[in-house]
Amino acid sequence: MGDLSELQEREQKLQGMGTSMLRKEDARFIRGQGSYVDDIKLPGMLFGALVRSPYAHARIRSIDKSLALAVPGVVAVLTADDLKPVNLHWMPTLGGDVQAVLADKKVCFQLQEVAMVLATDRYAAADGAALVEVDYEELPAIVDPKQSMAADAPVIREDIADKKEVGHGPRTHPNHIFTWEAGDKAAADAAFASAPVTVREEILNPRVHPCPLETCGCVASFNKATGYLTVYMTTQAPHIVRTVLAMLSGIAESKIRVVGGDIGGGFGNKVPVYPGYVVAIVASIVTGVPVKWIESRIDNISTTGFARDYHCVGELAADTDGRIKGLRFTALADHGAFNSHVSATKLPAGLFSICTGSYAIPNAYCRVDAVYTNKAPGGVAYRCSLRVTEAIYLIERMMDVLARKLNMDPAEVRRRNFVQAEQFPYQTSLGWTLDSGAYDAALDKVLKAVDYEGLRREQAQRRADPDATSLMGIGLSTFTEIVGAGPTKVCDILGIGLFDSCEIRVHPTGGVIARLGTMTQGQGHSTTYAQIIATELGLPASDIVVEEGDTDKAPYGAGTWGSRSTPVSGAATATAARKIKDKAKKIAAHLLEVAEGDLEWEIDRFKVRGNPAQAKTMKEICMVAHTGNLPDGMEQGLNAVSYYDPPNLTFPFGAYVCVVDIDKFTGEVKVRRFYALDDCGTRINPMIIEGQIHGGLTEAFAVAMGQQIPFDENGNHLGNSLMDYFLPTTVETPHWETDHTVTPCPHHPLGAKGVAESPHVGGIPCLSNAVIDAFAHLGVTHMDMPHSAWRVWTKCHELGLDKH
């Protein structure tokens, strides 16, 4: 049946997997009709403004609300004492700790939430907040995590000072949170003792912030008559938040509705539950009217969801040929004043143990010590799975450090240590099973594309030229990511497994609605999921509606973070669609009066093998499924729901090359070329994948070249507005060249691995390696990020490169 062009036409009509379908979600955004949380206005709604601490560490002697309450429009001022009767002045965190919702007797970081002023409009709320008088007694602050566990260090968390543990094993100091380790230390130590070559480097991943363009916020609306709580909020994980709110408030989970709406970017910032949300909810419960709370940009950068702050030491042991025999990586983790990062119960340091990267390293050991400081709490995963950027940065930097020590090309050292294509699935010495990969092929393709040897020749000439005013650096990164959390046997939050879900309903005329437990924040889920269903069911993607984020409608899932949407919910989508397809096949067999085994699938229909004229299209079957003409005992409808518990995480990988030119006199780094090859397995929408890669690389560029949240010795923020915090503009952002290979994931129903975080994880070390490579011939083995012009110039100046 069907000539080629007819088949192609039917296939194209579906706009299924593999096509660059234009995004379904664009229609509202290009008209200014998105519905973000600050767009929501409910009758009688009050605005909440938070009063925040000017000190990083202080006791609260008293709070005087009287002046604030006298401001016209101010309705109430809430403090910890007001939340105590409902026991909501403290809340459990997703990291096993507790966090003050409003400061209870003391503040532990600058701009900590102390009170909320409720008023009839945002100006009156701000006026009121400025007039709440708090009397503080300042205490010495700990800013440097290396000082946290000193014998005489001030105790930051008096509320838990005598607790032996806070969720993750024994503590050895009141400012200690946990110590976590993986691997075989004795075997690693033995490898180091016998290796002819060892290298060691101290490497910082500075404190940064994901800084989505929309800050965090919510509108909480509690209906006293029904006892029903609705919260519109900026959340990447609405279902988990609903569960947390049920645990916190005592309201039945069935009476809580969390709605994600449109989210103006997340990048990890919108996973946790923040005090502002909780106070707004309590305020609505207390006042009986809706309450809106929206962060300012300064509040966002200062208080919600910082990332990184990992102070690492990397060590590698190798033979003289560059083959790695042992790895020891440690990190001192600054978690701020409360351990409120989102970690799986069994993985307090997230997926840091992916730090063996793409390499076959027989003996490895890693350890993370987490401590409290007088800084904002958090430690979210900024465009990565938790602690993966830290891990991959360390191994990719250390590969270069080893190459220098051996006087070997960084590409060659990588090649000598790659897990080979035939070794997959490959069990790493730190316990992960890498699903699939073709690392050599990826690196070869990239090196050829950029003429790597030619670049190295050019670099040698530049270095030999005494009149050169610039340095040239070439950076590599051949990373492996770990995404798609995850198998419930290893991954849970608050005991809830990190499965995800999809429910599909097919209507009589072939329209489809699919609801998922994930939450798009710009990733194009409405399009990607529709394309999966289009291919699986042979119904056009244009007629498939995808809905997420409203907990009253969507099935339970853990949300969108850690590149888990396609690996987990994408799989659930395929699985649910296949259940429907199985039923459709039974109906087709019944209609065509043949056995199911006599049918074969072709694009959008079942046809009888050997008699192609006899066929039933999915569209026809959709209608029949809603009639009485069904096989005996079959119920009407074409609906299915799947809850997918992935058997393993997925391991996308890539090979990147970056070329930089550095002005010796100004320290300015110009990215001349950045070539990124990504392998995310099966590609569902190439256009969306490319867009995600551009964005991830740009966020990598931001982190590597300029982002850092600095503090003075008293814990004062030194840069928390967009004046100081670096978000690259069109002018600084390099042009990105992208490429791909396809190595399908063997355990995912579609072979897909997830992609959006790879360019961030792989891009940062690539940029750093390029900058540091520019100085490699001068004996430089490491420079900490960010590589701002001032810092790079400082290095040039130290080395005397800026002398005429």
Partner: protein, 164 residues
């Protein structure tokens, strides 16, 4: 509070009036009094450009303009780009070139790109990048935004009357 003023201006071709305190910012008037929630608030310090609107032929960040400064102004927001049910070429191009992801910067970015192409109908990539440097995007890395502006410029040049 009693100190309020009534300000009248033209918004997307229609006359509007708002009674505001002198300190009220234009972005709040647009969003909360005039139901134009296309322009967004991203930083409140005029760095991000999510609030960009067009006032009297200039791109303006409405988070740092007082509403009382807008008496008699001709104002265009993203909501006014579509005319008679037909998308403006810049809107169409952002869709076709995948120039948006989360959509939060998009209204400001479109409004700025609209004015940029009025100022310079045939910009080079460098001129586009310079011309959009006041509008931040965290999602796209700008590459497809630049392509979208190039594409819109070409379309407008090919059909200047239809898309004016």
């Amino acid at each position: 509070m009693a100190n309020t003023q009534t300000v009248s201006f033209t918004l997307n071709g229609k006359g509007v009036a708002a009674t505001v305190e002198p300190r009220e910012l234009l972005i709040h008037t647009l969003r909360e009094r005039l139901a134009h929630t296309g322009p967004h608030i991203g930083c409140e310090t005029s760095h991000c450009g999510a609030c960009t609107v067009d006032i009297d032929g200039m791109s303006v960040k409405s988070c740092t303009v007082l509403t009382v400064q807008c008496e008699g102004a001709q104002m265009l927001t993203v909501e006014g780009l579509e005319q008679g049910g037909v998308l403006h070429a810049i809107q169409q191009a952002f869709h076709e070139e995948h120039g948006l992801q989360c959509g939060y910067c998009t209204p400001g970015m479109l409004t700025r790109a609209y004015r940029l192409l009025k100022e310079n109908p045939n910009p080079s990539e460098e001129e586009i990048r310079y011309g959009l440097a006041g509008n931040l995007c965290r999602c796209t890395g700008y590459q497809n935004i630049v392509k979208a502006v190039q594409s819109a410029a070409a379309k407008l040049a090919a059909a200047p009357k239809a898309a004016a």
